[in-house]
Amino acid sequence: MKSEGRIDILIIGDATTGSGVSETLIGKGFRVARADVEGYSHRSRVGGAIVVQAGERGPEFEALGLEPGNRVVALSDFLEALPDIQPFDKSGGPAPLVVFLLGLAGESSCRATRDALAASSVLLDDLGRRVAMLYGNLKVSAAGLEAEVREARRKGALLLRFSSARPTFVRNGEGRPAVECLDEASRRRLILHPDWIVKDEILRAGPGDLERAARLGAEPGPDGFLPSDNVYRFGLETNRRGILGIIPDADPLGRDTLEDDLAAAMLEMRALDRFDSWAPDRVAVIDPGLCARCLTCHRSCPHGAVAVGERIEIVPQACFACGICEAACPAKAITLRERDPEKGPLEAVPRPVLLDIRPGDLVTFGCRRSAERARALCGHLGAGRPADLVFVPVDCAGRISREMLMDAFLQDASGVLVLTCHPGNCHAEKGNLQARSRVGEVRRFLEEAGLNPERVRFNTLAANMGVEFGRMVREFKAELDQR
């Protein structure tokens, strides 16, 4: 790799063939290398990495009580076999039937609908076959698909829908399968003797996909694919900056916009790599003099930005400046620093401090992305924001340390409210969860000190919850006032 000079993008994954991902990237002037996850280290970042995932397509015949073989095939296998199917001679009797099963066991996908429609168009137009599609939920949300379904119907494809009932499968003496079903619309029992039974395949992340994500420290979504479905990843980025996830062959949500995904990926890569020395304007920095090498930061960083070597260091390109490490470091060796706009040296970002608190105030710490915006919306809507509220915005709730919360009590705040993004919505994945455990710690602390633990409270909200912001603050204040 070294002899090729700088690499812009590393393609990680085993599905690059056929997907055209590397070809596209090379065509756009990126220098591309392929690798598997072995040997990939964020520390030695030479560019970005795109994780190309294929997943595993399983027809999952058994879920329907179907036995594969003898012309019972998976959709992708049928597409391969299609060119070899001979046209049927009409004089030879009634045309043989091809049955497609879509979404009858597990949920189908737009991709399966589109493939089945393409195949049925060939079967009807060129091969003299009849076509029936038996479906659970017909997936038609991808662009143009509804019109394609209409066209297939016009050509004579028969579409039978199933809500709660399911077809059953039997084999005759020669082992040829037959399909028995109750047609919902006509309420008639039908038996079909198809020439082929073609079942859609469900795309699931394979062990390879899961292992790759785990090794990269990149959070996958609930389906096992990268990126996670945290909306702040925009369906592309991961918790590790510069590692992007693309699923070329079948987007789980029925988009077939690989071109857009790639364009967005290239944009991200160029934005990060535009200058060889790209670095964010805000990073966490470890003071080696104070660091005790306890590795708390390494464990707590959700972005894999803490590199453990001779010294413990934060890789600036990987750091999201959430401040989780700063709040977690027992030695107080970490501070967030920011560069002024003229790209000067890094200066410390002051920790939020509480000025001018009057005894009895309600102090609210809130994440800028959610709580501060909700607070602004609350005021804008006139939704009852208490005037005497002390609001302390933080870039990420993960930066809220136990000391900050205690400081409020030391200054005689009546109560402390911590407002963060909802679980699953934190751009740092777990800043909100960190804050929640800090609140738990402080509650215990208050209890031990003989104070009422209810004086500190944790709540979650989103930027568009202005009314809820007002409600949360008012309710808490009313409870505090009652004591």
């Binding site: 009634p94 039937l97 119907r153 004579g156 028969l158 579409l159 038996i191």
Partner: protein, 235 residues
Amino acid sequence: MEEPTATISLEELDPDGFQSPDFLQDACMTCGYCASACPVSGVDGFDPRKLVRMVNLGLEREVVDARWPWICTMCGRCEAECPMRISISRLVREVRSRRDRDRVPGILHKGVEAAMETGNNLRLPKDDFVFILEDVAEELAEEPGFSGFRVPVDKEDANLLVTVHNKLVNTQTEDLVHWWKIFHAAQEDWTVPSENWEGCNWGMFTGDDEAVRRMSDRIAEQMDRLRAKNLLWPE
């Protein structure tokens, strides 16, 4: 409710039996709107979606032989909003028209036959018809505000020629007066023909296009005979 018994083998059906650009039934996405809209859905196992689907499957024989397609009242609500613009009522008529005429359900079939022979579905003679109208008119004339009311039978050069649904001179004569009251209040210049007055065109229900045409032609003839300017054809 007539429910499925035997299992039907799809291969033996010919789905092309009803192919026609008039119906577009292939486009049906079984959304079920029509079945929800139909006022007689569920009666004797009828629903419009079922009819569309069975035609689609090629179950021609069963649909044509079945009684339930005759439940449809031809109101057309099903197709008013069918998202795929399927001509459901035309399909119903087509199904009905494929039945041998002597197997058309009794009353409808007899009605059409009667209409073709006598000009109305009841075989009601001209004199009886006029008698009924006059009888009801006399009663109306006794109500306040209607004194002197008469039915202008066979009046020439009237503005409106009005047809009469046979049930209004049969079991529901009390409903005759609703229209009359309006005409009276509006001082309308109207008339009823003494012959071929039948406003209920059952050929439409049985899918008999020839009957529909004959009946319509007759009304047109009455228009010409009486030189009426406009036609009011309340079904």
